[in-house]
Amino acid sequence: MVVTPDKKLDCLGLYCPIPILKIREAMKALAVGQTIEMLSDDPASDADMKSWAARTGHDLLETDKHGAVFRFLVRKTR
């Protein structure tokens, strides 16, 4: 099933720690259960997003990579 994200966040060209800072801010505007898609081309963002999701408890539903661009789909859990 393809999830249509409730919000999209473009972090292309940005580096750690800014993508994490931006998604943390963006989560505040979401309701529990809503989803956000984040794009990042920072090679460190895969590990950073996994670590962030594990620490905050939000669901990292999908991670895929198209060329140099990571796409993360996250559901707000709390």
């Binding site: 580096y15 750690c16 720690p17 081309d41 090679p43 460190a44 950073d48 140099a68």
Partner: protein
């Protein structure tokens, strides 16, 4: 904010000490007050009577002489040739120029660095990765030390640069730059050292350590913020990152920030001349702080190396069951300024890459504290922290669910 105890504000307010230091300040790695002797030399460069170093009139020629004087002073700090000094706006810019600037002029496509570098080095490497270079991030041991042999094993025929910092600003560990330098030199690979942490605190010679590029920050020498430098051997080829009128031999265009650069030069001279006495004083204060904390705060653990194997002004610890944010807030309310050691961590709350690299657990990483001492740190300040920290930690532990 005059929130310090009366005794400390009276003491710190006298004797030509910068007015900014009005409380217990143990975050010199975050910002260092500029030495009043440096400010005195900078003043005429801000207030007039000095020209642009690139102009041919007499005021410009005087400015040029001051600029070159600062170059010589900065170079003397680490035994480099003055002509190799490229003034920049910051150590971050110098690290960017060293890494991206060198990679773009080199024929190979591989770099070696460590997992504990400053984020300006790491993000420069990430940027190169995106553009087709490969980067090996060499791991560290539990004290944060790079294994020179791991650097040797990481080298490839197409490696263009090895970049290893001289000391971690987060956990204070000194890195074996002389050994890494020998290995890189033997393979004919240029060696870059981010020397921000050690400058003025640990003697470092570019020739003895086979260093080809070296990064410095003005503020870490008690010079003004807004200046840094990259030193490069004459045979090193760099592509400029900032284009314009060709200042700094074309490697860094833009009219030189002469007041800050002159200040950095004086700061480098003072750091070189006063290093031994200052280091002995700081080491004694730092050892007292660490001993006091270890003795009086149960469950605390030092991060990074011990004794002479770490920066003399640097103390870092983890407390696995208390959040660093809460401790820093409580300390701040009591007039003590310290840090978590990592700006990224302070921004996002994520465990820092350095603490992850030395194998800290999530809980430990969240309880990371960093105290950095400096030129105006007193015994009274250290005593106050040793008194206050146990009370704060005890209070937070009792509040915890």
């Amino acid at each position: 904010m005059a929130r310090s105890s009366a005794s400390s504000s009276e003491r710190l307010g006298s004797g030509g000490v910068p007015a900014a230091v009005t409380r217990v300040y143990l975050d010199y790695a975050g910002f260092s007050p500029v030495d009043p002797r440096v400010v005195a030399v900078m003043r005429p460069f801000l207030e007039g009577g000095v020209g642009n170093p690139s102009t041919p009139h007499s005021l410009g020629l005087e400015a040029r002489a001051s600029l070159d004087g600062a170059r010589a002073k900065v170079a003397r700090l680490f035994g480099g040739s003055p002509s190799g000094v490229i003034f920049t706006s910051s150590a971050t810019e110098a690290n960017n120029l060293a890494i991206a600037g060198l990679a773009e002029r080199a024929s190979g496509r591989h770099l070696v660095t460590s997992a504990v570098e400053h984020v300006s080095v790491l993000n420069s490497c990430r940027d190169l990765e995106k553009r087709g270079w490969a980067v090996t991030y060499v791991g560290v041991d539990a004290e944060g030390r790079v294994d020179p042999d791991a650097v040797r094993r990481a080298l490839r025929p197409d490696t263009v640069l090895v970049s290893v910092m001289a000391a971690s600003g987060e956990i204070g560990t000194l890195e074996p730059v002389a050994e890494v330098g020998r290995i890189a030199r033997r393979q004919g690979v240029p060696f870059h050292v981010d020397a921000v942490g050690v400058a003025g605190r640990v003697a470092l010679s570019v020739d003895e350590c086979a260093i080809d590029l070296l990064t410095l920050s003005s503020n870490d020498l008690y010079g003004p913020p807004g200046a840094g430098a990259l030193w490069a051997r004459p045979e090193i080829k760099l592509a400029p990152r900032i284009l314009g009128g060709g200042q700094e031999r074309g490697f860094r265009s833009g009219t030189e920030n002469l007041p800050a650069i002159v200040g950095m030069g004086v700061a480098a001279d003072l750091a070189r001349l006063e290093r031994q006495a200052e280091v002995a004083r700081l080491r004694e204060l730092r050892d007292g702080l660490l001993e006091g904390i270890l003795e009086r705060v149960p469950g605390v653990r030092i991060t990074g190396a011990r004794g002479a194997a770490r920066l003399p002004h640097h103390a870092s610890v983890v407390l696995p069951d208390v959040k660093a944010d809460s401790i820093l807030l409580e300390l701040d309310l009591r007039g003590v300024a310290a840090s978590t050691g990592s700006a990224c961590n302070a921004l996002t709350g994520e465990p820092s890459h350095v603490l992850r690299a030395i194998g800290c657990t999530q809980a430990e990483a969240e309880g990371s504290l960093c105290f950095t001492l400096g030129r105006w740190t007193t015994t009274a300040e250290i005593d106050l922290v040793i008194e206050t920290l146990p009370l704060v930690v005890d209070r937070l532990r009792r509040l915890a669910p």
